[in-house]
Point group: C2
Chain length 77, copies 2
């Protein structure tokens, strides 16, 4: 894995953070995953340690939780 | 301002996030400010919107609060 993965749920906080992350590290270096729409990836995000979105999974598999938007529990509904 | 500023307080969560940010955006693109030691910069951080550390102030002046480490109130003591 060389790209980071940005997990989000389409909330305003998520979109704002997404723009910041793309500006900082470049669109080519990050995969954007909307777990509200692409629900089969929720389990993957949880397994990676994502507790809330937006969150950035770095290439070395650390999770950076950004400005709290929504908990995974809330996204699962 | 072209660099981001990473505000932290030396806590383990801060140091871990610092390594991640440096890996992601490069050491040349971020100024590291330890507001626990460089206390005169606490006011600057607060004014920029930093509520907790570690936090990254982006070049366009958005604040990304990362994995919660310590509130500014706690750093001020």
């Amino acid at each position: 894995m060389t790209k980071s993965i940005f997990y989000h749920a389409g909330c305003p906080v998520c979109i704002s953070a997404e723009h910041d992350i793309i500006n900082l590290i470049g669109a080519d270096n990050v995969e954007l995953v909307h777990i509200g729409e692409d629900r089969k990836r929720i389990a993957e995000a949880e397994l990676a340690g994502v507790k809330s979105v937006p969150a950035l999974l770095t290439p070395n598999k650390n999770v950076l939780h950004l400005n709290f938007g929504a908990s995974i529990a809330d996204v699962k509904g």
